[in-house]
Symmetry: D2
Subunit: 410 residues, 4 copies
């Protein structure tokens, strides 16, 4: 057991931090101004020129597709344990992951395509995604059912000759707002009479297929998160060739399970970076503001919160790294308790620390002058995305109770 | 001691509830559509025709200026204890208070004018406010200092002949976004060498005075709260006649103290209504959604939260009513511990319950399809508005510690 | 609605406080010394001479059986709302309730006898209990089943000619350790085939009946609470006359429901008194100790806790009084949501505040030099006595969910 | 970074677990019966024959003084990181550490003697301690001051010729109740005019020195923790030879700092073992009890608590191991933030989980039939022992704030 990062990881962290210092942080104001200008001009649903420019710089330096595990497509691929600390650094600036082609939901979608795609599917979709030329979305959540229980999915996928025909409504389809979004992975049911976890299938659906109607962006608190967006989409008689199916009929649940593990690790590591950034803002704020004759930093109530924040962050990071290590060593299935744990721990931790940071900032904390309110909205949503806390806790508890049931049965 | 509402209050509650059933609730969809249409058309900073229409109906029925304590201007005025339960009902629909001319910050401003205004000030500003013809704002918070400590205020008010000249920057000036907003009450310092609580003064400033520059609306978790808004305002050499001063130089802190008590009671009662509405949504949602084979309403984790929510609401309501009763009987100063208590209790309670309701709704909870995310933003901001929790807790603790210090000194 | 105590209650509070100042507080040290001496001498299971002496003084002054609602036995009886504030005062000194013949479980048992007893039962047991000559116990909880679900009760009551024969084991039988304890009310099952809530019956069992074996006192966090005690009792072929049944076969559950409401109100009011005493100790301690150059009372972390404590106490008191008022006005059944709420709220509140007070006292807080650790043990146990929090929360939630289900059905 | 235990540690854990299975667990009932018998016979302040017997077995197998870092006295010594997982196993059975001569406060005292003792001091005291022949106590805490601030210490140590003369009162002197306790390490002030952290000195004081008066055992909640005990001790003109000083006058604070780091790591690891044991009891209980028609294990409220418990334990363990690793690599001083963090995290975590386990057990949870109530008392006290949470949080916050102050100064 060794709690130091490996020399390789330390080196990568140093380099990535340098990249942030040289390129990302200096671009933050420009990025915000560009977004504001697009919005004021009437259309915030445009790609960012700032990001595109930085993507070039990142790619030139080899900071590209870091998320991708070692494979044919990524001979220099990192393990989850190696990638996690880099992902944490990206988490400090929410829009920065795209600069490295490491942003959700593309990362998860690329992993799905790499692991389960046919060569033809990979050629058509994976290649341009890896090149950062197109973007993608993942259409799973539905407004009318508790989608955390995949057996509730209502979207219908019907075989019709050489095609599949899709009918349903999906929302909170993150990334579908981007004009570069060219493909959706859609989860639906091909056979409602099959066993509960064999009813679902996944299809690759080009974003310009007839029958796709993007109703509107869903908001998260008051944010539309343009140009990424979380879209509400009607799928009406959407027809795609039968070869667009991933892995085969009835394999959708299985793919979803495989997809959500690593994806959420990334979210968790970014949450930790976000929490670190919030704690830094908190510390700077209480050090600079005076109330009733003393800097806030001298009030012990802030000592309590700063100390709790540091304890929470350290613990969440260690647990996430341990989960990453377990995924690397024993696979997502055997690591499912660890994965479920960080899904609960990391966003709850981030929500708490960001909330304290907001409180330290007064009215400024809820405003757009600091990234805290938006960070709160993002972290809070993570407690619902790919399953609410309650579902993950049930998973953890079930495994825990089984340990003793097994012993009792001995 | 009697925990029933008086017959008078019961009657008023019944009538107001009937008004909501007949007019407010049926108008909710129209109100939302109107706001959306204005926004889409490019200018959300417009008064609502729906509200204006409902104001007529409210006024015809005498549901007007209910907040105003019995006085020359309000011979039928209600006590705080009588008004509180009505205010709670309004809290269920955040935009509804204006229908009854009972919305912040006008209510507090009207009370200030009624209590401290000269006849000329009252004629010019109070009369049209009471008539619902104009609106107003209260400019206290500044971006550069911890404004919860009034001695930090930096805005300068300088006497110059028959005028006062104001220079400073104020933000989170709620209500200043409304095109009908005609007057600001501005807090600044007339004498930085006076004793700490005699440095501040308040001025009435017409919104169209030269030198007023509204920079932008401040956002609250992504919401701009148009048309009301929370504006960021520069005051540059803003000149007003000397007679626009309220009560006299050095009386600003005193007025602020008097103003914030009742104002916050209203906020608290509305928070309770908001929490009740959130709990109702939560209960309806868990009763209607099924996950893993059972309605959410059968999972004991929701029993815990529903029960806790009910306990929190009941207690917060009783404490708020007790504070209202104390204000009526012994005045705001003697009731300052009770007032400080509800300032902490009510918004924290609402934040917690709304958060549970969000969790029960899944992704829908953070969206605009339910009022929960916006309610969260509002309740969370209340934990900062007119002083953060920490300041109120310090007040409560100081009074509590003094009780024993006093006995020890006996 | 009126948040002042009535003149009658104010007068009673003044008088009772005076009695505490004159008699109870000055006797605290003597009471502790007596208990310690008995323990050192080898037998703590003896009545307290100090209490007996004070009982005389209380009785002379008419401070006797205050808990008893107005009835033939108590023509001057108080309502629950009137008694509650007096009960709170007693709660500050845990052993004091017996001085006024107002201690559990005698109070609940006397109420049962008064309400459900036959004249013969009343003559034999109620009279000496009202006179403070004997004490009693209530045998419900069993070690082998979740006793919060009364249908789990295993103790068997079998009719045999003119007798009932009892077999079972009961524990945490509070009060049965007292040498003056002369009678038990025992809950068991007379008919396991009856409907779930008609299986149980209650019997009056003289403590000296053959077949009763007191195994041991159960401890509560290391305390045996002698001489009161919480006894573990075997009942082996315990035979009592058939006329010892209360109300009739199958009525046990009904009596239990009736008994637990008022009983717990008393516990709740005492919890509030206990919390007030803990907060007073906390305030005095932080005012008197210096660490790192400043009195603890100047650290804002203590302001937070003191303020939260004051808010929690005020709210719990109001809720308890509201529940008392509801019991007086609409009866225990209609007030069951209010009763369930205070059962959750009051002990949890007390536990939290006592814990903070312990923390303020350092090692002294867990020692016997302050009443805090024992108070913690008592308050913590209340979260389990007559049903754990979870059961009460389920009751509250069920009623809350039913409100909306009912409306939906309209 | 590697989250697996080393092969060495895995082997040790396997062997120690086997020792527990073969010797410790089978002896638990005998140990409890022996303690009860001694108490009933009138003197619980006796060494345990069961422990002495097990000590032989442990020593024969080399399971002895495992806590001692590699050194001349312990050539096979373990690092903190290696010892921690073994310490956790011991934590599951609170009395077991003594079997391996690994119990507090002896471990800390032995480390002090090894590190700072003269050869003569080591020969006289360290040798028999290492042999498990005598026991020791550490006298630091005083009843009259906030002892977490070492500058408050009042105990006086006066040089008088070739002797030091000690006057003062110490309490919560853990271990001093044991009849085998032969030596105290006493902290007092030799020079009240020296700089704040140079006033204190430490002396070795034989327990039979004239002038030592053990007043009484302090209780922790209702436990006296005999025969170990937490004694209240008067030191009146206690005279010891000058050579009994440790390290020299004015070095007491320095020794205390060095002593408390590793000592608390042990406490933390034991807390984790304790929490694991509590979670196991919780899981077994909810699986075996039925209420309202279903096993408790099917209620989601228990899933929430079990999952939270598992998350808390995993995180606390990782943080403690990280702290141990830091102590091994960079020393106690550089690892002081990590040490402070686990001092806060581990006992708070244990307290929470034990409390949930108590709740799951109903009345049995607070009784002596399960180890939970005693475990609670122990874990709760740890939040005060060698400094309350608040002091450790202040340390963490100070270091955290300094990070940004340092950057700001760049």
């Amino acid at each position: 057991m060794d709690f130091s990062y490996s020399a390789k990881v330390e080196g990568l962290r140093r380099e990535l931090t340098a990249f942030f210092d040289e390129f990302i942080h200096p671009a933050e104001a420009r990025h915000a101004a560009e977004a504001q200008a697009q919005r004021t001009a009437g259309n915030p649903w445009q790609a960012s020129a700032v990001v595109e420019e930085l993507k070039q710089k990142a790619r030139e330096r080899g900071w590209w597709n870091l998320f991708l595990p070692r494979s044919a497509h990524a001979p220099q691929g990192l393990s989850n344990l190696e990638y996690a600390p880099l992902c944490e650094i990206m988490g400090r600036v929410p829009w920065s992951a795209e600069v490295f082609n490491c942003s959700a939901p593309d990362t998860g979608n690329m992993e799905v395509l790499e692991r389960y795609g046919t060569p033809a599917q990979q050629a058509r979709w994976l290649a341009p995604l890896l090149a950062g030329e197109i973007r993608s979305a993942f259409l799973m959540t539905e407004p009318d059912v508790a989608s955390s229980d995949a057996t509730n999915i209502q979207c219908s996928i019907r075989r019709d000759g050489d095609s599949y025909v899709i009918n349903g409504r999906k929302w909170f389809s993150s990334g579908a707002g981007d004009p570069r979004c060219a493909v959706y992975i859609v989860m639906g049911k091909t056979d409602v009479d099959a066993p509960a976890h064999r009813q679902q299938s996944m299809l690759l659906v080009p974003a310009d297929t007839p029958g796709i109607h993007v109703r509107r962006p869903c908001s998260v608190f008051g944010y539309d998160d343009a140009p990424h967006g979380h879209m509400d989409i009607d799928l009406i008689d959407v027809r795609v060739p039968a070869e667009n199916i991933l892995l085969g009929e009835g394999r959708g649940f299985e793919i979803a399970q495989g997809r959500l593990g690593p994806g959420r690790i990334h979210h968790c590591m970014r949450s930790i970076g976000l929490a670190e950034a919030a704690l830094e803002l908190l510390c700077r704020r209480v050090s600079s503001r005076v109330a009733f004759g003393r800097p806030l930093a001298e009030y012990s109530i802030w000592h309590e919160r700063i100390a709790e924040a540091r304890c929470l962050i350290e613990q969440a990071r260690l647990l996430t790294l341990k989960a990453a290590d377990a995924m690397d060593k024993v696979g997502n299935k055997a690591a499912r308790s660890e994965i479920a744990m960080i899904k609960v721990v990391a966003p709850n931790m981030a929500v708490q620390i960001i909330d304290w940071a907001i409180q330290a900032h007064g009215a400024a904390g809820v405003s757009a002058d600091f990234p805290l309110a938006a960070a709160y909205a993002g972290a809070r949503s993570l407690r619902l995305a790919d399953g609410p806390d309650e579902v993950h806790r049930a998973t953890i508890a079930k495994l825990e109770l089984a340990r003793y049931a097994a012993r009792a049965a001995d």
